[in-house]
Amino acid sequence: MFREAPHFDVRDYLRKEMMPHFLCPGCGHGMALRALLWALHELKIDRDKLAVVSGIGCAGRLSAYIDANTFHTTHGRPLAYATGLALARPDLHVVVITGDGDCLAIGGNHLIHACRRNLKLTCLMLNNEIYGMTGGQVSPTTSETRLTTTTPHGNTEPNFDACALAIAAGAGFVGREVTRHVPKMKELIKHGLQHPGFAFIEVLSDCTEVYGRKNDMGSSSEMVMRQKSEMRPSAYRDSVDEPFRSTDLPTGVLARNARPEYGAALRAAAAARAAK
């Protein structure tokens, strides 16, 4: 189960001129990137026809590493850029890579409307609970009481459950996985890539250098091992005085609904009107 398909070599999909990459030692984003590339490989998606659109932040930098048509756009807006790109070029396979700050804070409006609209896009949100690139400020998914450079006395804001948000906004496919389970991540991303509409996938990733260090969360391997037990209490379910209780945030496919795909519906409506 953990053996990769024999002909998958992640190096085939990376841009050598961009190596070494800039991710910190222990960062979970590399595992998420590997899972994405593995999924693309197994689905035999033509990289000439693959467009990867990313925003700003650590997650946003990943697009540059992928040997495809890649677009590193502005902070919070990759879904809006991708909407234009996918509508203009329905022949392309468009994947969005974003982070928790990019997708849920500055770009939150675009997320809920992308979910509602249901244009075929695969949105991969890497949630490390922190603004890592700018030095570790609080994000919309930072757990309560956590220390960040802008919550020096502990975070007092409740955090978002991004998948619940996506489901509520009408996303056709919603799933969550942790970087600890790379093959499962790959499988989940494959499902998302094959979904005929908007797919939202949250990957719980670790920021070891900034978030982990600031909160004494141990080494990267310790953080990864704890992903399914101690981390990420939901403020909506846990009391603030018990923030680190095991919560078992559900992973896997959380929602899958067949809804009309936006681009196809738009083209069908135009064709019907032209035929009149």
């Binding site: 000439d48 495809a68 756009t73 502005t74 850029y81 790109l85 509508l87």
Partner: protein, 386 residues
């Protein structure tokens, strides 16, 4: 036969608002993508294109906000299509970051800004000309941009087509700037007199291995890679090298930004456009755009009828400012009058261009257009003083 008689022989003229002329111009220029967000007084462009574009095989989408509309337009253009968005004051402010992205990453696109009274929500249904500097300097950082300022429905049609041509040729965002009066007034327009130039984008071709997406041709414009053609390049708003990948190498950064300015300089003959009316012997030259220029045109005739040597210089391309033509048009002028619907914006540029001349402004910020009589009075006063 004079112009009036000729136009009489053209019953095909139709009543067209400025905004409708813009929509038609976009369609005729080959635009196949529009993303927008409702805002007065530009919404008619979106409304009309929501009918026209799907019929022509294009895409119309109303996005969730102004920022998303701008981003979607840049995204569509990155996919290889001609794309347009239209907005006004507050919406134009919101679009600025992604306009800067388009300038930096060299993504062609056209943005319409219909000027209404500001600041903030201001006067949504009243004309203004107070976005002159925002169109030029609205986004952060150094970047060049093209701004066209048509003054009639007919000219909006022509300039919309030219905006797409210039965007494609120079790989740059182009702003189409006009005021609420020009936007929402309807005028009889006979379309079809001008054969539209259909500039097509310079696409990357040749070997993929050695291809560098930001290696420019001699004209300063790099051929653009089209997704799907196999070039698999990277596009970023970070400063980048010819390879397209991020770079903060001082020499690379300096050279690349310098090239953005140089490429517009290269195409100045194509970019520059203006109208000079009776400037040859003018002692007072009025410099104006949009509805103020239309009023000034009447004022010139009124002043001439009284024996005053008054002319009108109307920049149709606002940025880069046609400074050589301005100097030529004002060579005999002892004074310059700048009537505009703001507290003094175009006047600043004219003062900067003509430092040795007397430059007076006529500024109205009441939400009403300046009348021909007001301009004629100011021009007459100047003509008798100098």
């Amino acid at each position: 036969m004079n112009a009036i008689d000729r136009s009489h022989a053209k019953p095909a003229a139709k009543l067209l608002s400025g905004n409708a002329a813009c929509a038609q111009g976009a369609l005729d220029a080959g635009c196949t993508f529009f993303a927008g967000y409702p805002i007065t007084p530009s919404s008619e462009i979106a409304e009309r294109l929501s009918v026209l574009l799907p019929k022509a095989g294009g895409v119309f989408i109303q996005m969730e906000d102004e920022i998303a509309a701008m981003a979607a337009v840049v995204g569509a253009s990155m996919g290889g299509v001609k794309a347009l968005t239209a907005t006004s004051g507050p919406g134009f402010s919101l679009k600025q970051e992604n306009i800067g992205y388009a300038a930096g990453a060299e993504i062609p696109c056209v943005v319409v800004n219909v000027m209404r009274g500001g600041p903030s929500t201001g006067m949504p249904t009243r004309p203004s000309q107070a976005d002159i500097y925002q169109t030029r300097y609205g986004s952060h950082g150094d970047y060049p941009i093209i701004v066209l300022a048509p003054a009639s429905a007919r000219e909006i049609y022509d300039e919309t087509i030219r905006a797409f041509d210039l965007a494609e040729i120079c790989r740059t965002p182009v702003i189409l700037l006009y005021d609420q009066v020009i936007a929402q007034s309807s005028e009889t327009v006979a379309l079809g007199g001008r054969a539209p130039v259909h500039a097509t984008r310079k696409w990357a071709s040749g070997p993929r291995e050695s291809y560098k997406p930001y290696a420019a041709d001699a004209d300063g414009v790099p051929p653009m890679p089209r997704p799907g053609d196999g070039y698999r390049t990277h596009t970023t708003g970070l400063t980048h090298s010819e390879s397209g990948f991020p770079s903060q190498d001082p020499e690379t950064v300096t050279r690349n930004l310098g090239r953005l300015y140089a490429k517009l300089d290269h195409f100045r003959d194509l970019i520059d456009s203006y109208e000079a009316v009776r400037c040859e012997d003018a002692e007072v030259v009025i410099v104006a755009i949009g509805i103020s220029a239309r009023a000034a045109r009447r004022a010139v005739d009124a002043c001439r009828a009284e024996g005053h040597k008054v002319g009108l210089f109307r920049p149709i391309t606002l940025w880069p400012f046609p400074e050589i033509a301005l100097r030529e048009a004002t060579q005999h002028a002892k004074a310059i009058l700048v009537p505009e619907l703001n507290i003094g914006q175009l006047r600043l540029e004219i003062e900067r261009q003509l430092r040795d001349r007397r430059v007076e402004g006529l500024h109205l910020i009441s939400g009403e257009p300046i009348t021909p009589a007001q301009i004629a009075a100011a021009a007459t006063k100047l003509a008798t003083e100098v």
